[in-house]
Amino acid sequence: MLNISNLNISFGHGSEKNHAVKDISFKVKRGESFGLVGESGSGKSTVLNCISGLLNHWQGTIKVDGVPVSQKRDLAFYRKVQLVFQDPYASLHPRHTIDRTLKEPLAIHNFSDINHRVEKVLREVDLGSQFRFRYPHQLSGGQRQRVAVARALILEPEIILLDEPTSALDVSIQAEVLNLLQDIRKERNLTYVMVSHDLAVISYMCENCAVMSQGAMVEMISAKQLKSGNLTQNYTKQLFTASKGYDRAAIDLFQDF
């Protein structure tokens, strides 16, 4: 479904040049959920931005459904691939009602039956019709993230890119949003690419994941390996230990990577 090979991108020039993503390759099957995990600055979100079309000076190949995509995307691409952002407070237009936010993509892509689609997608993300004409400031963080998911779904895409979709939320809300994402995936047979710094979230959501550090891929592991702690690289092992909570003795053994 999604095939990335030798993806590279750098920012800046000369001495300040920063090679943010180095030769990343991976494949995601239809219906699979794939994780990109790493610490800040590891380039995981940059990879996502290259796929989504937010960044366009990358090199390498990105194939969706076997078809290579160019730097400049057309409308058909956006119908296939959608993204959910990290911060629900920043990703909704503050002066647009939920209704307008959801109708805008339909207008761009000349969909018919607009009202019906809006109602349907709101039901799908468990938001009642009483939310439809509210402004984002009248919603809680979890409700906003549901709207963001609805916005991504309304174009009926096949791939959804998730950029730390729950890291700005309280844990109890996180559980609701993660459940929702799992349900929708099953229902619509969607393909997910999810970025997260949280191994537990990745382990829960994904079948396979790539561990990234400083722009490069450290290793590719399956959820099974992750759950059993069956890891090969020291970097991943350290990340795994750190995710288990505070252990004074273990910390002294931490290395800088």
Binding site: E39, S40, G141, D170, V171, S172, Q174, A175, E176, L178, N179, Q182, H197, L199, A200, V201, S203, Y204, M205, A223, L226, K227, S228, G229, Q238, L239, F240, A242, S243, K244, G245, Y246, D247, R248, I251, D252, F254
Partner: protein, 292 residues
């Protein structure tokens, strides 16, 4: 844990923020006490945990209404002190590390100057003495090249380094209580643990008390001695960290259960069902009745 010395005692603390839409009761009748130990205050956003921390230092905006039967620190009633007396407490006796060093350091002063200032304010030291102590303190928070870091500006240091600088700044006057308000939430996990280890070492070496405010229940339970769990401005329960997983309070249980786990399966996560009855119940009551 048995406490030989009480550092801080809070009794029936109430904090109200007046707003045009009616008063917001941010903290309601909470009481706790603390010795030379690490105590964690855990809660979701809006639970009143940060406000509680700030109220001890009396650093809430002037329109906030704080009332309590008692906020006593080493036997001194903090609420009755004048602003001038309070300044002698701040930094010197009770200090605070905030969430993001990006915002909590003055952007146009060098790191060294800012740490020195904390020393000079309380020790009436010369600039040279302050500098020497600052360099030592930077070393104490395991910064390898203190002379160079001294001259840097906040935007030139990483998040982890920034937070170590904050810790150095807040510990240099040698206070006996440190309030850490989400001190590592903006950091990566490994850096987060390294900063906590530094904090842990310094706090135990100096025999200080620590209030650790966080939203991360698992982290707090592995780091602190005792945990105060807050919800909606109330204390739900106070548990020893070791006994957290034995807790029966529905809110604590809910928080624990809704977390995905690395080694866990892929079955639906259980979600937290909130209950307004929690807000009226007294946390010290042995059993909590859950309705609905």
């Amino acid at each position: 844990m048995i406490l030989e010395e009480q550092l801080l005692q809070v009794k029936n603390l109430n904090i109200i923020f007046p707003s045009p839409k009616g008063d917001v009761h941010a903290v309601k009748n909470i009481s706790f006490s603390l010795g030379k130990e690490k105590i964690g205050i855990v809660g979701e956003s809006g639970s009143g945990k940060s406000v509680t921390g700030r109220s001890i230092l009396r650093l809430l905006p002037p329109y906030a209404k704080i009332s309590a039967d008692k906020i006593s620190f080493k036997g001194q009633d903090l609420l009755s002190l004048s602003e001038k007396q309070m300044r002698k407490i701040r930094g010197r006796e009770v200090s605070m590390v905030m969430q993001d060093p990006k915002y909590s350091l003055n952007p146009v002063r060098t790191v060294g100057k800012q740490i020195s200032e904390a020393y000079i304010v309380h020790r009436k030291a010369t600039k040279q003495e302050a500098k020497e102590h600052t360099l030592k303190m930077l070393e104490a928070v395991r910064i390898r090249n203190p002379e160079q870091v001294y001259r840097l500006y906040p935007h030139e240091v990483s998040g982890g380094m920034g937070q170590r600088i904050m810790i150095a700044m807040m510990l240099i006057p040698d206070p006996s209580l440190l309030i850490a308000d989400e001190p590592t939430s903006a950091l990566d996990v490994t850096v987060q643990l390294q900063v906590l280890a530094i904090l842990d070492d310094l706090v135990s070496q100096r025999g200080m008390g620590l209030i650790f405010i966080s939203h991360d229940l698992e982290l707090v339970s592995s780091f602190c001695d005792r945990i105060i769990i807050m919800y909606g401005g109330r204390i739900m329960e106070v548990v020893n960290a070791a006994d957290l997983h034995k807790s029966t309070h529905p809110y604590t249980r809910g928080l624990l259960n809704c977390l995905p786990r690395i080694e866990g399966g892929n079955e639906r996560l259980s979600t937290l069902v909130r209950d307004d009855a929690w807000l009226d119940a007294d946390f010290s009551a042995p059993s909590v009745t859950v309705s609905g």
